[in-house]
Symmetry: C2
Subunit: 251 residues, 2 copies
Amino acid sequence: MSSDLKIIVSYDGTDFVGWQIQKAGRTVQGEVLKALERMHKHPVKIHAAGRTDSGVHAHGQVINFHSDIASIDPQRFCVALNSYLPADIRARSSRAVDGEFHARYSALRRTYRYHWKVGSIVSPQEHRFYSVMTHTPSVSRLNRLCRPLVGTHDYSTFTLPTEPSENRVRTVYGASFFPLRGKLVFQITANAFLWRMVRSIAGTIVELDKMDAEGIEVERRLSACDHAASGPSAPARGLFLHHVEYADEYM
Amino acid sequence: MSSDLKIIVSYDGTDFVGWQIQKAGRTVQGEVLKALERMHKHPVKIHAAGRTDSGVHAHGQVINFHSDIASIDPQRFCVALNSYLPADIRARSSRAVDGEFHARYSALRRTYRYHWKVGSIVSPQEHRFYSVMTHTPSVSRLNRLCRPLVGTHDYSTFTLPTEPSENRVRTVYGASFFPLRGKLVFQITANAFLWRMVRSIAGTIVELDKMDAEGIEVERRLSACDHAASGPSAPARGLFLHHVEYADEYM
Protein backbone atom coordinates (compact mmCIF):
# COMPACT_ATOMS: atom_id res chain seq x y z
CA MET A 1 0.00 0.00 0.00
CA SER A 2 1.35 3.40 -0.91
CA SER A 3 0.71 6.31 1.46
CA ASP A 4 0.83 10.05 2.04
CA LEU A 5 3.35 10.85 4.75
CA LYS A 6 3.82 13.77 7.11
CA ILE A 7 7.31 14.09 8.59
CA ILE A 8 8.56 16.49 11.28
CA VAL A 9 12.10 17.58 10.47
CA SER A 10 14.73 19.33 12.57
CA TYR A 11 17.90 20.93 11.21
CA ASP A 12 20.94 23.03 11.98
CA GLY A 13 20.57 25.71 9.29
CA THR A 14 24.14 27.04 9.61
CA ASP A 15 25.61 25.16 6.67
CA PHE A 16 22.63 25.61 4.33
CA VAL A 17 21.67 28.48 2.04
CA GLY A 18 18.09 27.95 3.27
CA TRP A 19 15.26 25.47 2.80
CA GLN A 20 14.51 26.00 -0.87
CA ILE A 21 16.56 24.50 -3.71
CA GLN A 22 18.59 27.16 -5.51
CA LYS A 23 20.95 27.29 -8.42
CA ALA A 24 23.98 27.13 -6.13
CA GLY A 25 24.58 26.10 -2.54
CA ARG A 26 23.56 23.31 -0.17
CA THR A 27 19.84 23.43 0.69
CA VAL A 28 17.75 21.49 3.21
CA GLN A 29 15.16 20.67 0.55
CA GLY A 30 17.93 19.42 -1.75
CA GLU A 31 19.35 17.10 0.93
CA VAL A 32 15.90 15.76 1.91
CA LEU A 33 15.02 15.12 -1.74
CA LYS A 34 18.34 13.39 -2.33
CA ALA A 35 17.66 11.05 0.64
CA LEU A 36 14.05 10.36 -0.42
CA GLU A 37 15.05 9.72 -4.02
CA ARG A 38 17.73 7.26 -2.93
CA MET A 39 15.04 5.42 -0.94
CA HIS A 40 12.36 5.55 -3.67
CA LYS A 41 14.68 5.17 -6.68
CA HIS A 42 12.63 7.79 -8.57
CA PRO A 43 11.94 11.53 -8.18
CA VAL A 44 9.74 12.58 -5.24
CA LYS A 45 7.84 15.86 -4.79
CA ILE A 46 7.73 17.38 -1.32
CA HIS A 47 5.94 20.31 0.32
CA ALA A 48 7.19 22.15 3.42
CA ALA A 49 5.37 24.30 5.98
CA GLY A 50 7.96 27.08 5.92
CA ARG A 51 10.68 28.17 3.51
CA THR A 52 13.34 29.01 6.07
CA ASP A 53 16.03 31.48 5.02
CA SER A 54 19.79 30.94 4.86
CA GLY A 55 21.15 30.13 8.34
CA VAL A 56 17.71 29.72 9.96
CA HIS A 57 17.22 26.51 11.95
CA ALA A 58 14.20 24.27 12.44
CA HIS A 59 13.06 22.29 15.41
CA GLY A 60 9.69 21.36 13.87
CA GLN A 61 9.63 21.93 10.10
CA VAL A 62 6.86 19.81 8.54
CA ILE A 63 6.99 18.18 5.11
CA ASN A 64 4.65 15.89 3.21
CA PHE A 65 4.93 13.69 0.14
CA HIS A 66 3.48 10.61 -1.44
CA SER A 67 5.47 7.40 -0.95
CA ASP A 68 5.07 4.11 -2.82
CA ILE A 69 7.36 2.24 -0.44
CA ALA A 70 4.94 -0.26 1.11
CA SER A 71 7.49 -2.16 3.18
CA ILE A 72 8.12 0.58 5.78
CA ASP A 73 5.59 1.27 8.52
CA PRO A 74 4.70 5.02 8.32
CA GLN A 75 5.66 5.54 11.99
CA ARG A 76 9.10 3.99 11.33
CA PHE A 77 9.67 5.89 8.08
CA CYS A 78 11.58 8.62 9.99
CA VAL A 79 14.11 6.04 11.25
CA ALA A 80 14.74 4.75 7.72
CA LEU A 81 15.00 8.29 6.34
CA ASN A 82 17.57 9.26 9.00
CA SER A 83 19.96 6.63 7.71
CA TYR A 84 20.02 8.54 4.39
CA LEU A 85 20.12 12.09 5.79
CA PRO A 86 23.25 14.05 6.82
CA ALA A 87 23.66 14.52 10.61
CA ASP A 88 22.59 18.19 10.49
CA ILE A 89 19.08 17.15 9.38
CA ARG A 90 17.00 14.67 11.44
CA ALA A 91 13.49 13.35 10.88
CA ARG A 92 11.93 13.49 14.37
CA SER A 93 8.70 11.61 13.65
CA SER A 94 6.55 10.39 10.76
CA ARG A 95 2.93 9.32 10.25
CA ALA A 96 0.45 8.60 7.49
CA VAL A 97 -2.01 11.35 6.53
CA ASP A 98 -4.83 11.48 3.99
CA GLY A 99 -4.25 12.85 0.49
CA GLU A 100 -5.83 16.20 1.46
CA PHE A 101 -2.95 17.12 3.76
CA HIS A 102 -0.54 19.79 2.50
CA ALA A 103 2.30 20.85 4.83
CA ARG A 104 2.03 24.47 3.70
CA TYR A 105 -1.65 25.04 2.90
CA SER A 106 -3.07 22.92 5.74
CA ALA A 107 -0.97 24.72 8.38
CA LEU A 108 -3.12 26.67 10.86
CA ARG A 109 -0.49 28.27 13.07
CA ARG A 110 3.29 28.55 12.89
CA THR A 111 5.54 29.24 15.87
CA TYR A 112 9.05 30.64 15.60
CA ARG A 113 11.55 31.02 18.43
CA TYR A 114 14.48 33.38 18.59
CA HIS A 115 17.31 32.56 21.05
CA TRP A 116 19.56 35.10 22.72
CA LYS A 117 22.41 34.81 25.12
CA VAL A 118 22.64 37.97 27.24
CA GLY A 119 25.95 39.82 27.50
CA SER A 120 28.25 36.86 28.06
CA ILE A 121 30.46 34.60 25.98
CA VAL A 122 28.59 32.24 23.67
CA SER A 123 30.28 28.86 24.02
CA PRO A 124 31.57 26.98 20.94
CA GLN A 125 28.81 24.43 21.58
CA GLU A 126 26.14 27.14 21.31
CA HIS A 127 27.39 29.71 18.83
CA ARG A 128 25.40 28.26 15.93
CA PHE A 129 22.10 28.62 17.77
CA TYR A 130 22.20 31.90 19.71
CA SER A 131 22.59 35.59 19.03
CA VAL A 132 24.21 37.83 21.60
CA MET A 133 22.23 40.60 23.28
CA THR A 134 24.76 43.26 24.19
CA HIS A 135 22.62 45.22 26.64
CA THR A 136 20.88 43.96 29.78
CA PRO A 137 17.24 43.77 28.76
CA SER A 138 14.13 44.39 30.82
CA VAL A 139 12.04 41.27 30.26
CA SER A 140 8.89 43.01 31.49
CA ARG A 141 9.41 45.91 29.05
CA LEU A 142 10.16 43.49 26.21
CA ASN A 143 6.80 41.87 26.92
CA ARG A 144 5.01 45.24 27.07
CA LEU A 145 6.57 46.05 23.68
CA CYS A 146 5.24 42.75 22.27
CA ARG A 147 1.61 43.37 23.20
CA PRO A 148 0.63 45.68 20.28
CA LEU A 149 1.92 43.04 17.83
CA VAL A 150 -0.81 40.58 18.80
CA GLY A 151 -3.97 40.67 16.67
CA THR A 152 -4.86 40.98 13.00
CA HIS A 153 -2.79 43.74 11.39
CA ASP A 154 -1.05 44.79 8.22
CA TYR A 155 2.60 43.90 9.03
CA SER A 156 4.19 45.75 6.06
CA THR A 157 6.55 47.53 8.49
CA PHE A 158 8.11 44.21 9.41
CA THR A 159 8.80 42.78 5.98
CA LEU A 160 10.92 43.79 3.00
CA PRO A 161 9.42 45.68 0.05
CA THR A 162 10.26 42.60 -2.07
CA GLU A 163 7.79 40.39 -0.11
CA PRO A 164 5.89 38.61 -2.89
CA SER A 165 2.38 38.56 -1.37
CA GLU A 166 0.35 41.69 -1.94
CA ASN A 167 -1.81 41.18 1.15
CA ARG A 168 0.37 41.83 4.20
CA VAL A 169 -2.38 41.23 6.74
CA ARG A 170 -1.61 38.38 9.12
CA THR A 171 -2.91 37.29 12.53
CA VAL A 172 -0.40 37.08 15.38
CA TYR A 173 -1.79 34.90 18.19
CA GLY A 174 0.99 35.44 20.70
CA ALA A 175 4.39 37.13 21.06
CA SER A 176 6.44 37.01 24.26
CA PHE A 177 9.91 36.87 25.81
CA PHE A 178 10.83 34.38 28.51
CA PRO A 179 14.03 33.06 30.11
CA LEU A 180 14.91 29.42 29.37
CA ARG A 181 18.00 27.64 30.77
CA GLY A 182 20.03 30.82 31.21
CA LYS A 183 19.05 32.19 27.78
CA LEU A 184 16.34 34.56 26.61
CA VAL A 185 13.73 33.26 24.15
CA PHE A 186 11.31 35.26 21.97
CA GLN A 187 8.37 33.17 20.81
CA ILE A 188 5.86 34.31 18.22
CA THR A 189 2.85 32.43 16.80
CA ALA A 190 0.84 33.50 13.75
CA ASN A 191 -1.35 31.99 11.06
CA ALA A 192 1.46 32.80 8.61
CA PHE A 193 4.48 35.10 8.42
CA LEU A 194 5.72 37.55 5.82
CA TRP A 195 9.27 37.28 4.51
CA ARG A 196 11.82 38.22 7.24
CA MET A 197 8.95 39.18 9.58
CA VAL A 198 10.23 37.35 12.69
CA ARG A 199 13.77 38.71 12.38
CA SER A 200 12.47 42.22 11.75
CA ILE A 201 10.11 42.12 14.74
CA ALA A 202 12.71 40.55 17.05
CA GLY A 203 15.39 43.08 16.07
CA THR A 204 13.01 46.04 16.39
CA ILE A 205 11.66 45.04 19.81
CA VAL A 206 15.16 44.52 21.22
CA GLU A 207 16.25 47.90 19.79
CA LEU A 208 13.22 49.62 21.36
CA ASP A 209 13.97 48.00 24.74
CA LYS A 210 17.51 49.38 24.52
CA MET A 211 16.00 52.85 23.87
CA ASP A 212 13.63 52.51 26.88
CA ALA A 213 10.65 52.86 24.52
CA GLU A 214 7.17 51.59 25.39
CA GLY A 215 4.30 49.87 23.54
CA ILE A 216 2.92 53.08 22.03
CA GLU A 217 6.10 53.26 19.91
CA VAL A 218 5.44 49.75 18.53
CA GLU A 219 1.83 50.79 17.70
CA ARG A 220 3.16 53.85 15.87
CA ARG A 221 5.66 51.82 13.84
CA LEU A 222 3.19 49.04 13.05
CA SER A 223 0.55 51.50 11.81
CA ALA A 224 3.11 53.24 9.55
CA CYS A 225 2.90 50.15 7.26
CA ASP A 226 6.33 51.11 5.95
CA HIS A 227 9.56 49.14 6.21
CA ALA A 228 11.39 52.40 6.97
CA ALA A 229 9.65 52.38 10.38
CA SER A 230 11.25 49.08 11.44
CA GLY A 231 14.42 48.70 13.45
CA PRO A 232 17.37 46.50 12.47
CA SER A 233 16.72 42.83 11.65
CA ALA A 234 18.01 40.24 14.11
CA PRO A 235 20.59 37.88 12.54
CA ALA A 236 19.52 34.47 11.20
CA ARG A 237 21.58 32.39 13.60
CA GLY A 238 19.26 32.60 16.63
CA LEU A 239 16.07 31.78 14.72
CA PHE A 240 14.17 28.45 14.75
CA LEU A 241 10.98 27.35 13.02
CA HIS A 242 9.78 25.78 16.26
CA HIS A 243 6.38 24.21 15.66
CA VAL A 244 3.60 24.03 13.05
CA GLU A 245 0.00 23.30 14.02
CA TYR A 246 -2.66 21.59 11.89
CA ALA A 247 -6.20 20.40 12.47
CA ASP A 248 -6.32 17.74 15.21
CA GLU A 249 -6.53 14.79 12.83
CA TYR A 250 -3.13 15.75 11.37
CA MET A 251 -1.24 16.31 14.65
CA MET B 1 54.18 45.60 32.33
CA SER B 2 54.39 42.28 30.55
CA SER B 3 52.81 39.22 32.14
CA ASP B 4 52.39 35.45 32.13
CA LEU B 5 48.80 34.56 31.34
CA LYS B 6 46.65 31.50 31.99
CA ILE B 7 43.59 31.20 29.73
CA ILE B 8 40.73 28.69 29.91
CA VAL B 9 39.65 27.75 26.41
CA SER B 10 36.55 25.94 25.14
CA TYR B 11 36.13 24.53 21.64
CA ASP B 12 33.98 22.49 19.30
CA GLY B 13 36.57 19.96 18.10
CA THR B 14 34.50 18.73 15.13
CA ASP B 15 36.19 20.82 12.47
CA PHE B 16 39.76 20.42 13.79
CA VAL B 17 42.31 17.66 13.27
CA GLY B 18 43.09 18.02 16.98
CA TRP B 19 44.88 20.45 19.30
CA GLN B 20 48.42 20.10 18.04
CA ILE B 21 49.74 21.84 14.90
CA GLN B 22 50.31 19.36 12.09
CA LYS B 23 51.60 19.49 8.55
CA ALA B 24 48.05 19.60 7.16
CA GLY B 25 44.64 20.42 8.55
CA ARG B 26 43.04 23.01 10.80
CA THR B 27 44.23 22.73 14.42
CA VAL B 28 43.08 24.46 17.61
CA GLN B 29 46.66 25.37 18.52
CA GLY B 30 47.15 26.83 15.03
CA GLU B 31 44.05 29.03 15.32
CA VAL B 32 44.93 30.20 18.85
CA LEU B 33 48.50 31.03 17.77
CA LYS B 34 47.23 32.90 14.71
CA ALA B 35 44.95 35.02 16.94
CA LEU B 36 47.69 35.68 19.53
CA GLU B 37 50.23 36.56 16.86
CA ARG B 38 47.83 39.03 15.26
CA MET B 39 47.43 40.66 18.70
CA HIS B 40 51.16 40.63 19.58
CA LYS B 41 52.52 41.25 16.08
CA HIS B 42 55.30 38.70 16.72
CA PRO B 43 55.46 34.91 17.29
CA VAL B 44 54.12 33.63 20.62
CA LYS B 45 54.84 30.28 22.30
CA ILE B 46 51.98 28.55 24.09
CA HIS B 47 51.61 25.46 26.29
CA ALA B 48 48.38 23.47 26.72
CA ALA B 49 47.20 21.12 29.47
CA GLY B 50 46.04 18.42 27.07
CA ARG B 51 46.70 17.57 23.44
CA THR B 52 43.19 16.64 22.44
CA ASP B 53 42.80 14.33 19.44
CA SER B 54 40.96 14.99 16.19
CA GLY B 55 37.26 15.63 16.84
CA VAL B 56 37.62 15.83 20.65
CA HIS B 57 36.06 18.90 22.29
CA ALA B 58 37.12 21.02 25.25
CA HIS B 59 35.09 22.78 27.87
CA GLY B 60 38.12 23.70 30.02
CA GLN B 61 41.39 23.35 28.09
CA VAL B 62 44.08 25.48 29.77
CA ILE B 63 46.89 27.31 27.98
CA ASN B 64 49.64 29.64 29.15
CA PHE B 65 52.04 32.04 27.44
CA HIS B 66 54.02 35.18 28.03
CA SER B 67 52.48 38.41 26.78
CA ASP B 68 54.16 41.79 26.35
CA ILE B 69 50.85 43.59 25.71
CA ALA B 70 50.68 45.91 28.71
CA SER B 71 47.53 47.76 27.71
CA ILE B 72 45.09 44.88 28.36
CA ASP B 73 44.09 43.95 31.90
CA PRO B 74 44.85 40.20 32.33
CA GLN B 75 41.23 39.49 33.38
CA ARG B 76 39.96 41.18 30.18
CA PHE B 77 42.52 39.49 27.91
CA CYS B 78 40.00 36.71 27.09
CA VAL B 79 37.52 39.28 25.73
CA ALA B 80 40.17 40.80 23.45
CA LEU B 81 41.34 37.36 22.31
CA ASN B 82 37.78 36.31 21.44
CA SER B 83 37.53 39.08 18.87
CA TYR B 84 40.42 37.38 16.99
CA LEU B 85 39.30 33.75 17.43
CA PRO B 86 36.87 31.82 15.18
CA ALA B 87 33.44 31.14 16.76
CA ASP B 88 34.23 27.46 17.39
CA ILE B 89 36.95 28.46 19.89
CA ARG B 90 36.20 30.73 22.87
CA ALA B 91 38.42 31.98 25.67
CA ARG B 92 36.25 31.58 28.80
CA SER B 93 38.46 33.41 31.29
CA SER B 94 42.00 34.75 31.71
CA ARG B 95 44.26 35.73 34.61
CA ALA B 96 47.88 36.56 35.35
CA VAL B 97 50.07 33.78 36.80
CA ASP B 98 53.71 33.73 37.90
CA GLY B 99 56.46 32.59 35.52
CA GLU B 100 56.56 29.14 37.18
CA PHE B 101 53.14 28.18 35.85
CA HIS B 102 53.07 25.66 33.00
CA ALA B 103 49.65 24.53 31.69
CA ARG B 104 50.88 20.99 31.14
CA TYR B 105 53.50 20.36 33.84
CA SER B 106 51.72 22.25 36.65
CA ALA B 107 48.43 20.37 36.11
CA LEU B 108 47.49 18.21 39.12
CA ARG B 109 44.30 16.55 37.90
CA ARG B 110 42.52 16.39 34.56
CA THR B 111 38.83 15.58 34.14
CA TYR B 112 37.29 14.31 30.91
CA ARG B 113 33.60 13.82 30.21
CA TYR B 114 32.03 11.55 27.65
CA HIS B 115 28.44 12.31 26.53
CA TRP B 116 25.94 9.73 25.32
CA LYS B 117 22.40 9.95 24.14
CA VAL B 118 20.57 6.70 24.83
CA GLY B 119 18.72 4.96 22.01
CA SER B 120 16.93 7.95 20.50
CA ILE B 121 17.47 10.42 17.70
CA VAL B 122 20.34 12.85 18.25
CA SER B 123 19.05 16.27 17.20
CA PRO B 124 20.95 18.37 14.62
CA GLN B 125 21.74 20.77 17.46
CA GLU B 126 23.46 18.01 19.44
CA HIS B 127 25.00 15.61 16.95
CA ARG B 128 28.47 17.15 17.23
CA PHE B 129 28.63 16.57 20.97
CA TYR B 130 27.03 13.20 21.70
CA SER B 131 27.54 9.57 20.80
CA VAL B 132 24.59 7.24 20.60
CA MET B 133 24.28 4.30 23.00
CA THR B 134 22.30 1.68 21.14
CA HIS B 135 21.39 -0.51 24.12
CA THR B 136 19.54 0.52 27.29
CA PRO B 137 22.29 0.66 29.89
CA SER B 138 22.15 -0.19 33.58
CA VAL B 139 23.62 2.90 35.25
CA SER B 140 24.25 1.00 38.47
CA ARG B 141 26.17 -1.74 36.63
CA LEU B 142 28.14 0.87 34.66
CA ASN B 143 29.18 2.34 37.99
CA ARG B 144 30.12 -1.07 39.42
CA LEU B 145 32.24 -1.63 36.28
CA CYS B 146 34.00 1.71 36.88
CA ARG B 147 35.10 0.92 40.44
CA PRO B 148 38.20 -1.23 39.63
CA LEU B 149 39.52 1.60 37.43
CA VAL B 150 40.03 3.92 40.42
CA GLY B 151 43.46 3.87 42.01
CA THR B 152 47.09 3.74 40.87
CA HIS B 153 47.50 1.16 38.12
CA ASP B 154 49.34 0.37 34.92
CA TYR B 155 46.74 1.30 32.28
CA SER B 156 48.53 -0.31 29.29
CA THR B 157 45.30 -2.16 28.42
CA PHE B 158 43.57 1.14 27.74
CA THR B 159 46.11 2.81 25.47
CA LEU B 160 47.61 2.04 22.08
CA PRO B 161 50.98 0.28 21.73
CA THR B 162 52.23 3.52 20.12
CA GLU B 163 51.75 5.55 23.34
CA PRO B 164 55.04 7.44 23.66
CA SER B 165 55.56 7.30 27.45
CA GLU B 166 57.22 4.14 28.71
CA ASN B 167 55.66 4.38 32.16
CA ARG B 168 51.95 3.60 31.81
CA VAL B 169 51.18 3.96 35.53
CA ARG B 170 48.64 6.68 36.27
CA THR B 171 46.34 7.51 39.17
CA VAL B 172 42.61 7.63 38.52
CA TYR B 173 40.82 9.59 41.27
CA GLY B 174 37.28 8.97 40.15
CA ALA B 175 35.26 7.36 37.33
CA SER B 176 31.47 7.34 37.22
CA PHE B 177 28.36 7.48 35.05
CA PHE B 178 25.47 9.84 35.80
CA PRO B 179 22.40 11.16 33.96
CA LEU B 180 22.45 14.86 33.04
CA ARG B 181 19.60 16.66 31.21
CA GLY B 182 18.28 13.51 29.53
CA LYS B 183 21.76 12.32 28.53
CA LEU B 184 24.26 9.94 30.11
CA VAL B 185 27.66 11.30 31.14
CA PHE B 186 30.84 9.37 31.96
CA GLN B 187 33.28 11.45 34.02
CA ILE B 188 36.84 10.40 34.78
CA THR B 189 39.53 12.27 36.73
CA ALA B 190 43.23 11.33 36.82
CA ASN B 191 46.61 12.93 37.41
CA ALA B 192 47.27 12.37 33.70
CA PHE B 193 45.97 10.17 30.88
CA LEU B 194 47.65 7.94 28.34
CA TRP B 195 46.91 8.38 24.63
CA ARG B 196 43.31 7.34 23.80
CA MET B 197 42.81 6.17 27.41
CA VAL B 198 39.43 7.84 28.01
CA ARG B 199 37.91 6.61 24.74
CA SER B 200 39.25 3.10 25.33
CA ILE B 201 37.91 2.95 28.91
CA ALA B 202 34.53 4.46 27.95
CA GLY B 203 34.07 2.08 25.01
CA THR B 204 35.15 -0.97 27.03
CA ILE B 205 32.89 -0.22 30.01
CA VAL B 206 29.84 0.31 27.76
CA GLU B 207 30.63 -2.93 25.90
CA LEU B 208 30.91 -4.85 29.20
CA ASP B 209 27.57 -3.42 30.38
CA LYS B 210 26.00 -4.67 27.16
CA MET B 211 27.46 -8.14 27.92
CA ASP B 212 26.09 -8.06 31.51
CA ALA B 213 29.67 -8.34 32.83
CA GLU B 214 30.67 -7.25 36.33
CA GLY B 215 33.67 -5.50 37.94
CA ILE B 216 35.79 -8.65 38.15
CA GLU B 217 35.98 -8.60 34.34
CA VAL B 218 37.36 -5.02 34.40
CA GLU B 219 39.96 -6.12 36.99
CA ARG B 220 40.97 -9.01 34.74
CA ARG B 221 41.35 -6.78 31.68
CA LEU B 222 43.19 -4.04 33.55
CA SER B 223 45.69 -6.50 35.04
CA ALA B 224 46.39 -8.01 31.58
CA CYS B 225 48.34 -4.81 30.78
CA ASP B 226 47.74 -5.57 27.09
CA HIS B 227 45.77 -3.54 24.58
CA ALA B 228 44.29 -6.78 23.22
CA ALA B 229 42.27 -7.04 26.46
CA SER B 230 40.42 -3.76 25.84
CA GLY B 231 37.03 -3.41 24.17
CA PRO B 232 36.28 -1.05 21.26
CA SER B 233 37.17 2.64 21.60
CA ALA B 234 34.31 5.10 21.93
CA PRO B 235 34.22 7.63 19.04
CA ALA B 236 35.81 11.09 19.46
CA ARG B 237 32.60 13.08 19.06
CA GLY B 238 31.22 12.60 22.59
CA LEU B 239 34.47 13.45 24.39
CA PHE B 240 35.29 16.70 26.21
CA LEU B 241 38.38 17.81 28.13
CA HIS B 242 36.18 19.14 30.90
CA HIS B 243 38.39 20.65 33.59
CA VAL B 244 42.05 20.91 34.65
CA GLU B 245 43.07 21.48 38.28
CA TYR B 246 46.18 23.24 39.54
CA ALA B 247 47.49 24.29 42.95
CA ASP B 248 45.11 26.77 44.60
CA GLU B 249 47.18 29.85 43.70
CA TYR B 250 46.69 29.07 40.00
CA MET B 251 42.92 28.38 40.06
